[in-house]
């Protein structure tokens, strides 16, 4: 991206000049932009393929300038795997909502992670099913009122929310898992860094990377955009603490393979030389 010296901030080139279809003030728009900025920053638009499964961001195949594939609800990690196995030198990301990633797509999520697929997952945790009009998500908070938890999420019947970063961090294939948010310019900058780092880990073959973005759905939560960020800060952040949940490089390993081997040091078969 050619940077003009008098421009401090402009639309990233990896976003096409089209209006997005998100509601006013929806965090999806911010995160879409951050992904595009990362693509620009790394200069990888021509070799990036994005996967847009069903959810409010489904039409993002129209927004990104890189090649895009629309995927079935929950199956983005499988689709991304198919793509990456054909094009191991390309960059593949999926951009998934909480319903998509953590409910219907849980098996695909866990397995892409444990396989250590060299893909980057951008995970928008807005504690709701946005696109279908505000049903309970796997990440909806206890007592949260939604269309399908009209009396507040009752954990005794609807169960507990899933903390995705915590869950996936137990898997050997995960190189990098961080939870961020985008409620302030400062946090937006942090989120951007995390996304760029995730792409870099993919490019360097370190392993699977996921960035969970604690986000908002003003429309279905029934708040203004500002009010939504408020509610999110008050209620979601205590439940979904921000931070790095796994970073194999920070842990001192080259990649997931080194880290996993160290964890399984006691197993003779794992450490059998020659067969690998």
């Amino acid at each position: 991206m050619a940077e003009k010296s008098n421009i401090l901030f402009e639309r990233p080139e990896a976003l096409l000049p089209v209006q997005n279809t998100y509601c006013p003030g929806c965090a999806h728009g911010i995160v879409n932009r951050l992904v595009a900025e990362a693509i620009d920053a790394l200069g990888i638009e021509g070799k990036t393929i994005g996967i847009a499964p069903v959810g409010c961001s489904v039409t993002s195949y129209n927004f990104y300038a890189c090649d895009m594939i629309q995927a079935a609800h929950g199956r983005a990690p499988a689709v991304a795997t198919g793509v990456k196995r054909v094009l191991p030198d390309h960059v593949v990301f999926s951009y998934q909502g909480d319903g998509d990633l953590a409910s219907i797509g849980m098996a695909e999520t866990v397995h892409a992670a444990t396989r250590g697929e060299k893909i980057t997952v951008i995970f928008i945790n807005n504690a709701i099913y946005g696109m279908t009009g505000g049903q309970m998500a796997p990440t909806s908070l206890p007592n949260q009122t939604t269309q399908t938890s009209p009396y507040g999420r009752d954990v005794t019947t609807a169960g507990f929310p899933i903390r995705v970063c915590e869950l996936l961090s137990t898997l050997d294939g995960v190189a990098y898992a961080e939870r961020v948010t985008v409620d302030t310019p400062k946090n937006v900058r942090k989120a951007k860094k995390a996304i760029e780092k995730a792409f870099t880990y993919q490019i360097d073959g370190v392993g699977y990377s996921i960035i969970e973005v604690v986000a908002t759905c003003p429309t279905n939560w029934g708040f203004t955009p500002q009010g939504a960020f408020h509610w999110m800060r008050d209620n979601m952040l205590p439940y979904y603490p921000l931070g790095v949940y796994k970073d194999v490089k920070a842990d001192g390993y080259k990649d997931i393979y080194e880290a996993a081997a160290a964890r399984a040091a006691e197993c003779p078969l794992v450490n059998k030389e020659g067969d690998r």
Partner: protein
């Protein structure tokens, strides 16, 4: 002098830029309705803009360009 440009084609009048501008110099233009039916953001006092890009960082519709 830094300043921002709001592209009304993109702006949905969400007001996030308004609330994060540390200078308090953005407002929604209630006198205007965009094609999609929104009141777009506008800079009220160009002279005070520091070019901090806070507004642009928060804009979900990538409507803001910040120039020096």
């Amino acid at each position: 002098m830094p300043k921002i440009l709001v592209d009304e084609f993109y702006c949905k009048g969400c007001g996030l830029c308004v609330s994060v501008c540390p200078q308090g110099i953005i407002e929604l233009d209630m006198g205007k309705i965009t094609g999609k039916g929104y009141h777009p953001a506008r800079l009220t006092d160009e002279s005070k803009c520091t070019g901090c890009t806070s507004c642009a960082l928060m804009c979900p519709d990538v409507a803001i360009t910040v120039e020096r």
